[in-house]
Amino acid sequence: MKADSRRPASARAEQTVRRLQAKDALQLEMPAPTAAGKDLSGDHPVFDLAPAVRAGTLEALDRGETHYADVPGLAALREEVSRALHAWGLNVDSVDGLIITAGEQEARFLAIHMLGHAGYRVLLPEVVHPGARKTAALGRIEAERVPVDPSTLMLDLEHVRRGLAGGRAALYLESPHRLTGKVMERAFIEAIAEEVTRTDGLVIWDATLAPWIADGVDYTMIATLHGMHDRTVTIGSLWSGTGVEGWLAAYLAGPTSLLEQGRSLKQIIAICTTTPVQWAALGAVRAGDAGQRERRNALLEVRRNAAAHLPAAVLPGETASVLAVRLPRRVELSGLPGRPMSGEAFGAPGIVRFTVTPGGEVVEALRSLAEGRS
């Protein structure tokens, strides 16, 4: 019984496709989770698999840990993640205040939808990771865009204030910024926190790139500010620099009052995150930050060398793993060395983002760009 390809396609199917194609945000290009070889468009550089990750996975297989895990994740992993986040000043209840997700996009989905479906307007910066706009195109949530400063691509307080003014809003923030790697300054975060509290709002805080912030840079998580713990859900990945970025493990942390709906949504979309991956992540988290400073410094060196070729075009950022460049002229993206991620998907046409990888390919890419070879 083979399908007959001569039969006309269903009009209903065609109508369904057209309906979805009309949702621009849903059609946005997404970066791959990892940058591979000479393709520098992925969200994260990857290093060799950490021995602790490999060991954690193999031991789990030996024990037969291949069935469903609890919806919010393995209890042991949540405890370790909670401990690790404590080092950043975050107090997270490992029982009800954490959900282990299948990568950062799922964390973003849960965060945006658990608040959006509870009636919060979701305020997305005009320039933001495409995954945020894309997920906001699903379901029945109300998403609004908040203008950014065109030169820095960062939010300014006045526009944040206006966005929050309508009440019952969840403000989506990235620090470090997912396009440029720019870290928000503490004074600015404090001012936002004050506005959020005053308007009884909430914050979704993307801290995914935090492990790549250069040493000595002051980094504040908004959830650590007075009164903000109960108003913030934080997302991040597990565990940068350990080689598991392509295995897709991340977390969503927040007050139990907010995460209940997140657990329900997680059950609806996936039941649980891949169990052996959670054991792998546990190995990584238990290994702690071993070697991360060296990896970070190595990437920072690569980033500096690359930026030196086009100093005026590189956007400011303190994060080792990404480098954003304002293109000096209109060029075809596919012709650019390193095949960077287009800023257009982030809401910033004319900008491209290169992943800074340990192989140093970005140096050659920027040299080539500077010499007009592309």
């Binding site: 396609a9 297989l61 894309k134 169990t275």
Partner: protein
């Protein structure tokens, strides 16, 4: 803990759903050391050894690329396409007509979000797996339930489907073998239902997740394998039940390329990609020896008999499982609602069953039991349940 803000933000609370109702019972199960779980659909078998060995070898291979999906994605897509052709009779292009998902659960969610928008209607056989209602509610659409009946062994009736269709109906769900009823749609019944879908230009969402578990002479027919049906059909499946791989979260949606492209967009929006580790296990499961699957098929057949014999002895009516891993039981003679009886089984027999109320108000007179426990454990569970039923008089 940080200090609380003066103005406390509102609590974001999950509404009670069939799914959450069941999970609240399951959390109570942990209180009993001798508990037997006949509620959750998680096979007791371990993932076949050759699959674990393949993943192990891959992790230890010096030249394996453990970091980026590239080649592994192509391999698993090809393996799925082969499976769809050989088992289901569906020809697909692996590069454009399959989306990888986190198990059948995400596949179901993505299919629903693809075809439904707020206000749309979808015809779903009832009772049904409660995640259908959750996914439909997320889309803001309306589930139009078509009741199946125990005296028809819960097989979906085409006339009732036809009567449920309105101008707002966009799709029809076909689940065979069914969860929770274990009814199988015969080839004639699949033909009749797909004809209705064609007549009303409905999309078909085919849930084939139990297609390898069939009893007696029943056969599985994939709607997309029928002449002309592929352009309007999305088919989901997963390795969870087939290979006792529930924790790996490896599944897929297959269908015509234009629709699948949009399923993929929604997948990107929901969770991005699929874990490389899940892909590797998937390749091993689909391309390796199938002995583990055959052993499970035989075991489920024996277990089904144990459960049916025990229920016969208790004088309880049920739908004869034609496939799947479940049995849906009419508990009317006990005089209790499904939630009360499930609680009583839990507290007095330390056995968890799924209360029918989690499938909707109309099903409060039923319970669902799985046969996903070893034969001695299953026999013990049925003995304990029988004691409770006997005490009820």
């Amino acid at each position: 803990m940080s200090r609380r803000s003066a103005k406390q933000p509102a609590k974001v609370q999950a509404p009670p759903t069939g799914t959450s109702l069941f999970y609240s019972l399951m959390s109570e199960l942990k209180k009993y050391p001798d508990a037997i779980n006949l509620g959750r659909g998680d096979p007791d078998f371990t993932t076949p050894a050759h699959i674990l060995e393949a993943v192990r070898r891959w992790l230890e291979a010096p030249d394996a690329d453990l970091r980026a999906p590239g080649r592994m994605r192509d391999e698993v897509l090809r393996a799925i396409a082969t499976r769809l052709r050989e088992v289901n009779g569906i020809d697909v292009d692996p590069s454009t007509e399959i989306v990888l998902t986190q198990g059948g659960q995400e596949a179901l969610f993505l299919m629903i979000q693809t075809v439904l928008a707020p206000g749309d209607e979808i015809v779903v056989p009832e009772p049904n797996y409660s995640s259908y209602a959750d996914a439909i509610a997320f889309a803001g659409a309306v589930q139009v339930a078509v009741r199946t009946r125990i005296d028809e062994n819960f097989v979906l009736d085409p006339d009732r489907v036809r009567a449920a269709i309105t101008p707002r109906t966009r799709a029809l769900v076909m689940v065979s073998p069914n969860n929770p009823t274990a009814a199988v749609l015969s080839p004639d019944r699949v033909n009749a239902l797909t004809a209705i879908a064609e007549e009303h230009d409905l999309l078909i969402l085919a849930d084939d997740i139990y297609d390898r578990f069939l009893y007696d002479d029943h056969v599985h027919t994939s709607p997309a394998s029928l002449d002309g049906m592929k352009p309007r059909t999305l088919t989901l499946n997963a390795l969870s039940k087939m290979y006792a791989m529930t924790g790996w979260r490896t599944g897929w949606v297959a269908g015509p390329a234009p629709l699948i492209e949009q399923v993929g967009r929604i997948k990107e929006a929901a969770s991005g990609g699929l874990s490389l580790l899940a892909m590797r296990a998937g390749v091993a499961a689909l391309t390796g020896p199938q002995d583990g699957l055959y052993e499970m098929q035989a075991a489920y057949g024996r277990r089904r008999r144990i459960v049916m014999d025990a229920l016969d002895a208790m004088g309880l009516r049920y739908g004869v499982p034609q496939g799947g891993q479940f049995i849906l039981v009419d508990i009317g003679p006990t005089g209790l609602s499904s939630l009360d009886l499930a609680r009583r089984f839990l507290e007095q027999a330390h056995v968890l069953v799924s209360p029918g109320i989690s499938y909707g108000e109309a099903w409060k007179g039923f319970i669902r039991m799985t046969f996903l426990q070893p034969e001695p454990t299953l026999a013990e569970a049925m003995r304990r349940i029988a004691d409770v039923v006997t005490r009820l008089g």
